[in-house]
Amino acid sequence: MPETAVAVRELTLGEAVREALAEEMRRDPRVFIMGEDVAEAGTAFKVLGGLVQEFGTDRVLDTPISEAGFTGIGVGAGMTGMRPVVDIMFGDFAGLIMDQMANQAAKIHYMSGGKWKCSMVLRTTLGATRRSAAQHSQSLHAWFCHIPGLKVVMPSTPYDAKGLLKSAIRDDNPVVFYEDKMMYKLKGPVPEDDYTIPLGVADVKRAGDDITIIATSSMVQVALGAAKLLEEHGVSAEVVDPRTLWPLDEKTLIDSARKTSRVIVVDEGYGRYGVTAELAAMIQENAFFDLEAPVKRMGAMHVPIPFSPPLEDATVPTERTVCEAALALCGK
């Protein structure tokens, strides 16, 4: 890099999320945040710190612990001229809000023959290994992916988080935006300018020739770590991040599968009837005759997430298990 060039600054994923929110709130007075402890506390994860000082409690609104109620208020506000960003602290609380998302937000546009729109973002979290036990550690994004009318966004880097969140806020549909709790401190380059990343465009995080690892959110860093390990074994792995599960950039995923002829899908949700099943099926429907091996799926073990650290760590894919699976797929 020439000395005159300005180095792109680095932000954590949490800071990138906060910056996207602040920029969108400055840009559009209709954008507001509501949720539990979002104002002075800046959320349980301290991601929103400082926003209430800039925007006030009218736009950064602490709610009672009533997830269904305030999500429903978000749906109604999003239909009538506001752009709510609803904060659901733990993704495990999806059960509490599912009617509001699946039966209300997702359907109003269709049921009304396209007349009403619901412009809202639901920010929530996923990811295990935080020692939070079975009701605060799940990755339940597949539930929302199953419902037509919703979009589901899964950033894996600070750069993607900022650009995707800005697009989600500007979208005229209900968008569920997932943040991995364990990645809030992950650092990466984030430009200061007002960029957006369109929903529905995958990103090749690392180019490779021998095997494709399709990974989402928390699993992208795991896949990149596995790719490094694979290098030592002489295997060149390509890591592809769909970035949004719906809309889904099928073409980029299929192209990569065709190129490398071997595919692993890694996602922290449960495997059974989950995201990995969907992506693996999509790959085999479109690239079957280019594949040298069956598509391998890796996700959370099919158990409630245990508390005890060695037990919990065993439930999710790691760099080592992904690397071993890749070697096996490559016949090594």
Binding site: G69, G76, G81, M82, I108, G114
Partner: protein
């Protein structure tokens, strides 16, 4: 309580609207029993005074949310009967291009945020609309219609609590027709229903839901209160569902007596109550009311013909409108 007086023209207009809803619903029942209408329908017959009294007291740009028993709300808020029938028959010309049907009529032009087939499903939406109105300063009030069955849903109390905390311009109108589907309210709601709102600081009162004048007056007062920024209120309108839970609910003796139904129909019919008021105050004579009924009947017949003749949506429509 200093409720507003109702002038003669307004009472006649409300009479006409109630007759329209009554005849509309009778027509729906007829279409259904002749197997000309797909699906189900939940008729509003007997409850017309609530929708009409409430909606007449609102501005045209105020919002409502409605329920599975929602035809009356939509019509009272200004929906056109031809497009209503078209929607009920699943036709392209319907309010939702036939995609919503009887339980999901929605129309931004009349402030109708949508009828909702999840009991209490619209409580959040209505409260959210009130939130927008307050933030945008547009002076709009939202009425959230629901039946007493919705009192069993926790989300109602969650949003009432927030509406009170944030002083949102929303009126929760509980149509207490005494039956949660096939179960009497006494088996479903403990304690005093009107004591629930005050626990959140939401003023609550009841009204005779068979008297359109009373419903209009109290709604006007509550709407003005909401517009002044004084927050939400809860109105329980006592009423009776003259027909079954839905059009196919014919044999009802296992949950309520014929005698009970007969008493309500003969003594508490909202159209009869209004008729008596109109006649006793010499606002119009029987012949004039007969003319109104004939006019509405002709409009309904024309609208049904329109809907029956209207085309179904093209099958390509099935994938349209999933995303905005």
């Amino acid at each position: 309580m200093s409720d507003v007086a109702i002038d003669n023209k307004l009472l006649l207009r409300m009479y006409r609207r109630m007759v329209m809803i009554r005849l509309f619903e009778e027509q729906v029942n007829d279409l259904y029993t002749r197997a000309l209408m797909p699906g189900l329908a939940h008729l509003y017959i007997g409850e017309e005074a609530i929708a009409v009294g409430v909606c007449e007291a609102l501005r045209s740009d105020d919002y409502i949310t409605s329920t599975h028993r929602g035809h009356g709300h939509c019509l009272a808020k200004g929906a056109a009967i031809d497009r209503m029938f078209a929607e009920l028959l699943g036709k392209e010309a319907g309010y939702c291009k036939g995609k919503g049907g009887s339980m999901h009529i929605a129309d931004p032009d009349t402030g109708n945020l949508g009828a909702n087939a999840i009991v209490a499903g619209s409580a959040g939406i209505a409260t959210g609309a009130a939130f927008s109105s307050k933030r945008l300063g547009n002076g709009r009030v939202t009425v959230c219609f629901f039946g007493e069955g919705a009192l069993g849903q926790g989300v109602v109390y969650e949003v009432m609590n927030m509406a009170a905390l944030w002083k949102l311009p929303v009126i929760y109108v509980c149509e207490n027709n005494m039956y949660n589907e096939y179960t009497h309210v006494s088996e479903a709601a403990a304690g005093d229903i009107l004591a629930r709102g005050p626990a959140f600081g939401v003023p609550s009162e009841s009204v005779d839901g068979q008297d359109v004048r009373a419903v209009y007056s109290v709604t006007q007062r509550l709407a003005e209160r909401a517009r002044r920024g004084e927050g939400p209120s809860f109105l329980m309108a006592n009423t009776y569902r003259f027909m079954g839970h839905h059009v196919g609910d014919i044999s009802r003796e296992y949950y309520r007596s014929k005698q009970e139904e007969q008493t309500w129909k003969s003594e508490r019919d909202p159209i009869k109550v209004a008729t008596e008021a109109i006649l006793s105050q010499n606002i119009a004579d029987r012949a004039a009311l007969g003319r109104i009924q004939a006019e509405v009947k002709a409009e309904i017949e024309k609208a049904v013909q329109f809907a029956m003749a209207a085309p179904y949506p093209n099958v390509d429509e099935v994938e349209q409108d999933v995303y905005a």
